[in-house]
Each structure stands twice: as structure tokens, then as C-alpha cells.
Assembly symmetry: none
Homo-oligomer: 209 residues x 4
Amino acid sequence: MPKRTREKYRVIIEAAIRVIADNGYHGSQVSKIAREAGVAEGTIYLYFENKEDILISIFRNKLGEFIAAAPQKLNGSENPFEQLAYLIYLHFYRLENNPKLAHVLQIELRQSEKSIRKGIAEVIKEYYRLIENIVVDGIKRGYFRPDLDPKITRKIIFGSMDEVATCWVLSTHHYDLLTLTEQVYEALARSLSREEDYTPFPPGLRPVQ
Amino acid sequence: MPKRTREKYRVIIEAAIRVIADNGYHGSQVSKIAREAGVAEGTIYLYFENKEDILISIFRNKLGEFIAAAPQKLNGSENPFEQLAYLIYLHFYRLENNPKLAHVLQIELRQSEKSIRKGIAEVIKEYYRLIENIVVDGIKRGYFRPDLDPKITRKIIFGSMDEVATCWVLSTHHYDLLTLTEQVYEALARSLSREEDYTPFPPGLRPVQ
Amino acid sequence: MPKRTREKYRVIIEAAIRVIADNGYHGSQVSKIAREAGVAEGTIYLYFENKEDILISIFRNKLGEFIAAAPQKLNGSENPFEQLAYLIYLHFYRLENNPKLAHVLQIELRQSEKSIRKGIAEVIKEYYRLIENIVVDGIKRGYFRPDLDPKITRKIIFGSMDEVATCWVLSTHHYDLLTLTEQVYEALARSLSREEDYTPFPPGLRPVQ
Amino acid sequence: MPKRTREKYRVIIEAAIRVIADNGYHGSQVSKIAREAGVAEGTIYLYFENKEDILISIFRNKLGEFIAAAPQKLNGSENPFEQLAYLIYLHFYRLENNPKLAHVLQIELRQSEKSIRKGIAEVIKEYYRLIENIVVDGIKRGYFRPDLDPKITRKIIFGSMDEVATCWVLSTHHYDLLTLTEQVYEALARSLSREEDYTPFPPGLRPVQ
DNA sequence: CATGAATGAGGATTCATTCAT
DNA sequence: TATGAATGAATCCTCATTCAT
């Protein structure tokens, strides 16, 4: 069994992200990843079950960091609207600061085989739950509309962020993703809000010009 | 391409949808598609450049029908809110009534090579424009909030519908997609509306129980 | 059975020469030849057994003309040395005046399958015999060295002309093939001659400057 | 290409010669060559770019040995006539002692695609130069006729040897190639010689009966 | 732990030829 | 005669994975 904590494990993951971002999923042979990582081909198989496992591991690792970091930050705020704003901010911030990873997550990972997507699905559920928790919490505490369906709402939140992110990646970063945070927030917040008590975007999350 | 016979072209497209929905893109050998269509393998290449071209053609054809039908129906209504409702309704209606096509469009098509996605991108722009037109029109005519960015709004609308649709397909249709129309509409309509004049969901689009 | 005398038969042959010269043997699909000839693909098979038959027919036809014309001209001279000079002259003259045919004969025809070469071999024997007759005749009549082996001598004569012609074609005609006639003649004539009575090149065959 | 093993490279080359000689180039599937060589199909591609590369490598290797060995032997003699005699002798000797290789070199290699012939052309230039050097040297040192054109002469020498060799191969070796050395030499030597000082064939090169 | 040479299954595509019209 | 749509056999090459060292 591969030891997922070891240095070489991370080296291979990082090499794979670079290779896949540069060559696309189908252009990323194991041999190429091995070369980039500076290890022998066979070594890859000491740390990963197979090629798919590399891909899933990228996702698990990076989304893992994503989720691990999020709650602490989100819990910094009592207000679910602020939590939503922060969620979007973090989502875009992570991607903007890792363009290669962003490309892999938004584009390459999607074009993988059924079995890979299955592995990914398990990981992403975690993230889904995070979003749903915000929604449920917001409803319970009277911040969000009581008639919201948390599952649908989660899909709208995630779908909106995801589509905006994908378009940004496909535009090859010709514009700034983070500046869109506010607009996406506004749209989503209005959907969630009970008319009268709509909370405007937290000025602290506005990108510094 | 042989001159007279558009017929065989359609036969192959429909066969390909069935085969790809059942086996996934990478599990759909050209030979399998040919067998399903009842033609020889070589015949495929009289009507399509290559295997990728089949996939792009599925998209072009089906999205083509989608877009071709949409404007007439949308224009049936003067009200941009109603148009939005109808857009979501049509989007979900089409997918729900073609489960195999839905699978191909939401799942298999995404895992294709760069060149395929490029071919698709050209076609989908048309659909994007359709959505943007509703937004722009709604703003201009004072129905939607004047501070909306049409591009971002389009991404939120499309992203929301797309995510809801993908989750529905991945759930292997255990629930009814059309019944979600209203909730998606509500969320999006609230984002678009100038508070006071929010237009409720047109009752005529509610699925008959 | 194809009627080898008909107009369309010649049209196809000439079209094939152009296509093969331009695209090489392996790049000359039957469909391409049909298009160039202005007939349907199926029509080809009314005049030729199969694709190979086209190639062999090119050779048979063109070498046929070659041989048919030669004897009359060669017999115009009583002197075997003059006949040799004329042979070389004609060989080069034909090629120089049909660059596309030259390319097909010297290059493309050689890269054909065993069965084609077999068909060609039968035709070329005729030409071999023509050359050998000159040699045998020259020996018998005391012009050429009596110790010559006609078969070997024929190979040296043909091999020399052929190599010179092939190099000329591969050079893409950057120089004039006909001007080499005299030098090739000189070399071969010396080989054949009984020292004292070596016959110099007939001045009438020298290209006009 | 794997680092240590030149061994397997040679094994494949030799297997390819046997297979191609027996089946022709187009009848020699890579799988057949692999089986004959006792390696997996994929292994072929560790040592060769593609199927064409095998053919070119055969030529490069064998002509390489040819040329590498020649100069030393040729330089054993001061006399250009003797060098010519030795050149022909070596040319025929090599072919006669490798009938399968002879078949591949004289027949199969000629029917290859443009790209193969291009690869071969580069190698054969070396051999051409070798022949031309003998000619130039012979002229300079007063052995050969001063009015010879080295390029044309080279073509006549090579063309003669080549045609004789090809006919021998096509005859399926029903006669002895080496015994023709003297006659080819005689013919070529007469072409080269300044009448009076023609050098007869070196008796040492006569095949022992 | 690490290497990298060896494996071999798997599939899109071409194109000469046929034959119903 | 002429057509051209339909056929389907035939094969090179890639690349994930293994295993002897």
C-alpha cells in the first residue's frame, strides 16, 4: 500500500498537475509524469494504484485542502450571508492562485472515464455538504428564505460558481476571476434572501485595486 | 458525403446516441455504432470525418433543434420573466424526454478531447447568446435589475440549469427533472428582479400531477 | 472484357499517369484517378481488371510505343554503333519529353507489388530483346568485340541508361537529360568496340544548342 | 531506445531481413517481424520509430558495413583499375553471400514510400562518393581517360552493377553472381581506359572453380 | 525502495472492389 | 455502358502495467 504521506507522493502529484495542465488529460502519459517528477515509471506504481488513482488523488488532495481550510474561515463569521460570500471568495481565490490546478480541475478532470468521476464524486460530496450546511443553517436561523430547497440551492450555488470558473479558465485568464465574486454573490444572495433583510456584499472581500 | 441520403446520416446519429449513452464515449467503438445503425463500418466514414465528428454532430444537431425551436416559443411571451421560465422549462423538458441524449450531452460530451470541445464551443455560443438576449432585453425593458452584468448573469443561469441537469442524470433519473423547473426559476428570477416587481412562476408551466 | 482500343481507355491511362506522377503510387487512389479522368469509379472497372492492371497497362502502353517506334528508326542505320547511339537517344528523348511519365516509369512503378512487377517484367523483356539484338547483330557483323556476352552487355547498357535516367528524375529535371546521350554512348561504345574501329558518336544526334 | 542493449536491435534487424525477403515489404506485418525476432510487438517500437524505420535501418546498417569495409580493401591497391575490379567484386560478393539481404536491397527497398527512399538516399550518397573517388583518382593519376565526367561515370558503374545484381536476384539465383565480376569489369574498364594502357582483370579475383 | 526494459491488447481508418439502379 | 453508395478486411502503433534486477 502506498504511503500517502511521503515526500515522493507529493512530488508526483505536483508533477502530474503540471503535466496534465500543459498536455491535457489524454496527452499525459505515465512516462511523462514520471519524467517530470524525476522518478522512474515503475516508481509511480509504488505510490499509486494506477493512472486513474493519480487523477483522483489530485482531486482528493486539492479539494481536501479546500474543504479543510474552509470551515475555519467560514466559521469566523456568524452570518450565513457572509459565509456565502466567503465561500465564493475562497472558491475563486484558490483557482486564481493556481492556474494550472484550475485548468486540471475545471477541464481535464471532467473528461476522464466513468471510474475516475466516481472517485471524484465521493470527494466532492464533502464540498457539497459544506455548501448545503450553509444553506440549512441560514434557513434555520432565519437569514435565508424558509421555502428554499437546500439541495436545489446547493446546485445553483455550485453550478453558478463552477460555470463562472470554467469560462474563466477557457478564456485563458484574460480577466480577473476574483473581481467577479461580488456579482456572483449578489445574484445568489438575492435568491436566498428574505426580501427585506438582504445583506449586501461584505466590503472586506472586495479585491484591492 | 453521399448526396441524396440525409436519412442514413440521421440513422447513424441516433444509433450513436444509444450506443454512447449505454457504453460511454470510450467504450463506443465505431464498429459498435455501425452495427447498431445497421450499416458497414466504412459507411460511417462516408457521413462523418471521424469518430469525434460523430460526437460533435450529435451536439450540433440536437442543440441545433433546441435553439431552432426555442426563440419562437420564447417570443410567444412578451415578458422576459416568462421567457426565462420557458427557457428553463424547455431545457429540462428536452433532457427529460431524451434520457439517453441527456446522458450523452451532460456526461459523455464533457469527457472529450480538446478538439471536440472546440467544435462544441462554437455551437453552444448560439445558446449562450439566446440566454444573454433574454437578459439584455429584460434589463432594457425595465423588467430586470439595471445593474446586472449580462455575461455573468448568463453564466449563472446556464450554470444553474446545467448543474441541476447533470445531477439529475447522475442520479440515473430517480426523480423528475421537470418538477425542479419552478424552484430553479424562483432562485434565478429573484436574482434578476427589481425587488418590488418580481414575477412569480407561470402556473401554466407547472407539471401536471 | 475491357476494350483496350476505346477512347475512355486512353483517357483513364493518361489520367492515371498524371495522378501517379503528382501523388506517388501509394497516394493514387482509384477514386482520385476516376475523378481526374472524369468518369465514375465503377467505370474504371469496365476497362481494367483492377488497380494493378492500370499500372501494368501504363507500362505496356508506353513501353509498347517505345518499342514499336524504335526498330524502324534503328533499322534506318546499318551500323550497330549508330543503332546504339540512337537507342540511347530515343530512351532519353522519350523521358525528357514526358516528365510525368518519366517519373512514373522510373520511380513509382518500381515500388509496386510483386504481381505488378511480374506484369511489367513480361513487357520489358521485349525491350531487352531489342537491345540484345543490337548487340548480337554487332558482334556477328564484326562491329563489336567477339568475346562480349550479349546478356551481360544488355544489362550494362540498360543499367547505365536506367541509372542515368533515374538520377535525372530524382534531380527533378534540373539539368538536360538529352545532353548526356553522348557521354553515355561513349562509355558504352568503348566497352563494345574492338579497339581500333571504335565509332565516334554520330554528330547528328547531338542536341542543338 | 533502451540504453544497454544493442543486441536486441540487431536481432530485430536480422529477423526483419528474413521476413521481408520471404514475404515482401507489404506482406511483412510488424507482428510477423516481432514473432520472428522473438520479441513482443511493442518492443519493436523501443528500437525503431516505425515500420519504415526498420527498412531504412536495414539499409543503413548493411550499406554501412559495406562502405566501412570497402576503403581499407580498396586502398590495398594503388591501381584504380584494381580498385574498380575490387569494388565490383565486393559488391557482388556481399550480395551473393546474403541472398535474403540481396533480395531486400535490390527489390523490396525500391518499392518503398517516398520517405523511405529519402532516408536511403542519404546513406547511398556515401557509396556514390566512394565510387566517384575511384574515378577522380584514376583520372588524376593518369590511369583513366581524362575526358571522363566523374558523375556520369559513377552512374554507369553503379547502374551496371545494380542491373546485373537485380537480374540475378530476380532469376532467384539460378546462376552465380560472382562469376560475372570479370565481364562487368571488362566492360567498365574499357570505358574508363586510355586505349593503350587498359589493365586486364586481376586474376586473383577470379572465382575458384 | 527504485529502476526501466519489456509486454501485448485494443481500435480507428482506408480504399479497392462490387452491384443495384 | 455508366454510376457511386456501400462494403469490410486488414494493420500499425500507443501506452498502462509488470517484474527481474
